[in-house]
């Protein structure tokens, strides 16, 4: 019987010294004041324009929306500007605080955890393998354990995970180093999954590193993270900045290029004002186990959706709680070798954003929690406005259209007065154009700075396929972003509205895809509304004022062209064609690091296998009953699991061991899996004794007493 120690109080962190606190205060003041100053000046110019063309209550609404929206883009711009300057100089950052490289990690135990939920198990295991093999080369493998923490609810996925896990430990000879655990219930979703791991094994490890299902990390980077934690005893969390990799579609490659080119400019800006009060993005980060267990078990928020209940975007809140408890959270943005993958289509991307939107809006509750650091509140606020900005932008455009319509209805001619600022000797049209150009400059300046930074770095320049290729790619990416932005505006507005009305994260039907991307029919199904909005809105503006229509064409074009945009950017063939002509190249494409090369080789072999024999429905259930080894693995894991009292209780609550399970098994044998629902299948698959029994019965019983489905499954073993 395992012992049940309680966690001791973690050693008090070395609280940030007063001098650093004051300096951090100045950093935040300087950074945000720059954005506010810029916003103030341009808003004054905008207010002046409104004054010239006739002050009205709609104008006041428009001005307020402008102020908020401009402040948001100014903050983005300031991240770029500060980041650029800091890239050129050398700012205070975690890797420079202490000599960490000379540290030893001998005797320091770290767990690498891969929480998964109905993911592609083969891909997860290939990613784990790449990290494992890379770590093995560092000679430090013995300090690390790997855990696949499954929350899968799909019976077939469950079996696939066990099969892939066993194949992996067999190939790597890593039994006792790479572990697999599936939870009985999904309580608390991902944060509950991690919590369950910590409650069961957390006290064995000083640190744990969280991976996403598609994460890969270089061995040296993993070791460096542990060394950084050892060298900085006040650090509770260190977040790496994962590079997007392995994109194949045009959309995926554009996103990947943007991530690799612009992130090195933005993140130092973020680090400038956040310093040790940084954030956590949910994966590719190392966490000090003890304080996390002590302070980061998330409470349920009071009330119901959209704000109450389980905290969905748990990562921001966990970082805020760690920081609140006096621990530091750092961004180790200069550590290379941390990777993740991104959605390959516009629709996949929107699907992910919908989940995040609901979680981030919920932070509106958390942001007011007593005791949180100001910087944590800023992280939370930025996450909220990341989604709230879209409906505000939509509202801004609609207000502007309303004013246009209203002006047309009054039948009065527009008489402009002199500018409020007397030295501004420009016409109203020129005045509007100046504001427009400033907005564009603020939006695009970070991109220009990223290219300037690239121009100064010979090695990076080559990694991006040369400066010319990078410039052309950045221009193409900007054009795509301009078309994508209005779509994002509509989508985000829809998500925000759905979340606020308590609609929540409704399940999106799976996409109809071909090997080369999404189909035209699927795109029509997803985007007909966007196209219609674009056509009607565009038509209405044209009717109101043809001149204004041309100003609105970038917005309308994104909506009207959404169907072809979605289909064409999902194409793998176009992504590869762009690569052949040197567009959107990234360092990981031009010079793949060994860990990614290994991953790609492994995945290519698996893709070939999957293409030859795609899994049939209920193939997992068939395997776990008929295959002598899959059955043995599954049953052994269940039996081991029963030794944990928490698991045993959960299994019992599920109904395992009840006589009804045998009745279900009989039905399964006699009628086949189509006569059982998913819950019943999961119940059978959670009962070790019944599965052992099923295995023997399926092979021993006369064929005539088995469902035809079983007979056909057994025939597949005859060769």
């Amino acid at each position: 019987m395992p012992s049940e120690p309680t966690i001791s109080n973690p050693a008090s962190p070395l609280v940030m010294s007063q001098i650093h606190r004051v300096r951090l205060g100045w950093r935040i003041f300087l950074f945000y004041s720059s954005a506010v100053l810029l916003t103030g000046l341009v808003s004054l110019l905008f207010a002046d324009l409104l004054w010239r063309t006739g002050w009205s209550s709609s104008g006041i609404v428009l001005l307020n929306l402008f102020i908020v929206l401009f402040l948001l883009i100014s903050l983005g711009c300031m991240h770029g500007v500060f980041g650029f300057v800091l890239r050129m100089t050398h700012d205070r950052r975690l890797t420079r605080l202490a000599d960490y490289r000379s540290r030893t990690i001998k005797g320091v135990s770290t767990a690498l955890v891969f929480p998964i939920h109905n993911e592609d198990a083969a891909r997860v295991c290939q990613g784990l393998r790449a990290t494992y093999e890379s770590l093995e080369k560092t000679g430090c493998l013995s300090s690390f354990d790997f855990y696949i923490l499954s929350d899968s609810t799909d019976p077939d996925k469950w079996v696939e995970e066990e099969q892939q896990w066993f194949g992996l430990v067999h190939d790597l000879d890593a039994l006792g180093r790479v572990y697999y655990r599936r939870r009985v219930s999904n309580e608390g979703k991902k944060s509950g999954n991690i919590r369950d791991f910590l409650r069961t094994w957390g006290t064995r490890y000083r640190y744990f590193i969280v991976f996403d299902a598609d994460s890969v990390m270089r061995g040296e980077t993993v070791v460096d993270l542990v060394k950084l934690m050892e060298a900085n005893p006040s650090a509770g969390l260190v977040q790496t900045v994962p590079a997007l990799v392995n994109a194949t579609s045009l959309f995926g490659r554009i996103q990947q290029f943007a991530n690799r080119l612009y992130t090195p400019i933005f993140i130092p800006g973020l680090n400038f004002w956040a310093q040790g009060f940084g954030n956590y993005w949910g994966h590719n980060a190392i966490i000090r186990t003890e304080p996390f267990m002590q302070h980061c078990d998330l409470p349920q928020l009071p009330g119901r959706k959209p704000f109450g209940g389980l905290i969905l975007s748990h990562d921001f809140v966990e970082a805020a709680l760690l920081v609140k408890a006096g621990w530091e959270a750092w961004l180790a943005y200069d550590l290379e070798g941390s990777y993740e993958e991104a959605p390959q289509t516009l629709i996949d991307n929107a699907r992910r954003e919908r989940r995040w939107c609901e979680g981030n809006l919920q932070h509106f509750m958390v942001i007011w929690a007593k005791g949180l650091r100001g910087s944590s509140r800023l992280h939370l606020a930025q996450g909220i406005f990341g989604y709230l900005a879209s409906p505000l932008w939509l509202f801004f455009l609609l207000t502007f259209n309303w004013m246009l319509w209203y002006e047309g209805q009054t039948g009065l001619s527009r008489i402009t007065v002199r500018a409020f600022t007397p030295f501004l000797r420009v016409t109203a049209t020129q005045h509007a154009f100046i504001i427009f150009v400033i907005c564009l400059a603020v939006l695009f300046l970070p991109k220009v700075l990223a290219l300037v930074y690239l121009a100064f770095d010979k090695e990076r320049r080559r990694a991006f396929g040369g400066l010319t290729n990078a410039i052309v790619s950045a221009l193409a990416e900007t054009a795509f972003s301009a078309l994508h932005a209005p779509l994002q505006m509509l989508w985000h507005s829809q998500f925000v509205a759905a979340s606020l009305l308590g609609g929540g994260c409704a399940q999106w039907e799976s996409q109809k895809r071909t090997a080369d991307g999404i189909t035209w029919t699927e795109a029509l199904r997803q985007h007909w509304g966007h196209t219609l909005v674009g056509l009607i809105w565009g038509g209405a503006i044209w009717r109101l004022d043809p001149l204004t229509f041309w100003w609105f064409t970038p917005v309308m074009a994104g909506m009207v062209l959404s169907i072809p945009l979605s289909v064409l950017t999902s194409r793998v063939s176009l992504g590869q064609q762009a690569r052949r002509v040197g567009l959107f190249l990234t360092p990981e494409e031009t010079e793949p690091p060994p860990e990614l090369a290994a991953l790609r080789t492994g995945m290519a072999a698996l893709d070939e296998e999957a293409a030859i024999a795609p899994p049939a429905p209920d193939s997992g259930l068939a395997g776990v009953v008929l295959d002598p080894y899959l059955n043995a693995i599954h049953v052994s894991l269940l039996r081991e699991k029963r030794q944990n009292p928490d698991f045993a209780r959960a299994l019992s609550n599920l109904g395992v061991g009840q006589p009804e399970v045998r009745t279900l098994c009989e039905r399964l044998l006699a009628a086949g899996p189509s006569h059982l629902d998913r819950r019943e299948k999961l119940l059978i698959m959670s009962d070790a004794d019944q599965l052992s029994w099923l295995h023997r019965q399926a092979w021993l019983r006369p064929s005539a007493t088995l469902a035809r489905w079983w007979q056909s499954q057994i025939r597949q073993y005859a060769r």
């Binding site: 966690i7 039994l175 006290t203 007593k370 308590g502 002598p628 080894y629 052992s692």
Partner: protein, 191 residues
């Protein structure tokens, strides 16, 4: 291959049609395939061994099909062998079967020891050790600890969480949409 002391009629084996034994052969062979016994000679020998035992019972149990007898014999044979190799009691057949199959997999029988499978002892020490020591560990020893969520003091804002309890939110939203529709209708019909 036939039951001892019995002369079969043409087209029969152990008193049953050849086709029936063919079905039995196929089922037994499928199970050994499932166990990844890939060597054809060994596979043929193992299936023949099982069928011979089934044929012995054939005359005494005419009401049961050849396939039933054969898979039952296969099950007995495999479990008895597991009991011997693992030095385990055969009291719980299902438990033993699971343990035995797991041991076969961990000892890499399909890769290294196909010739030892179902063979009477003595077996090579390495094989026996691999079979007996094989234990699937999905995780290290549990070291259970408690985590307790600390409540967040959300202050007065917590009352906002009750807003969705307001029973008229969706209705009010519907009315607003309806109102907008009326405004649009008015505009279209009056201009």
């Amino acid at each position: 291959m036939s039951a001892p002391g019995r002369i079969d009629a043409p087209g029969q084996l152990a008193g049953r049609p050849l086709e029936e034994w063919n079905g039995a052969y196929s089922k037994v062979e499928s199970y050994f395939h499932a166990l990844r016994v890939r060597n054809k000679v060994l596979l043929g020998q193992l299936v023949a061994l099982v069928l011979e035992r089934a044929m012995h019972r054939s005359a005494a149990e005419p009401q049961r099909s050849a396939t039933e007898l054969a898979v039952e014999e296969m099950d007995h044979l495999v479990n008895a062998w597991f009991a011997q190799v693992l030095q385990a009691a055969a009291s719980n057949a299902e438990m033993l079967s699971t343990r035995g199959r797991m041991a076969l997999l961990l000892a890499d029988m399909p890769g290294r020891w196909q010739d030892q499978f179902l063979r009477p002892g003595p077996w090579p020490d390495e094989f026996v050790l691999a079979m007996r020591d094989g234990y699937l560990r999905a995780g290290p020893n549990f070291q259970l600890a408690n985590m307790t969520p600390r409540p967040l003091d959300l202050g007065p804002i917590a009352t906002l969480t009750q807003w969705s309890r307001f029973p008229y939110v969706k209705m009010a939203a519907t009315w607003i949409l309806f109102g907008l529709l009326l405004v649009a209708l008015f505009y279209v019909t009056h201009h």
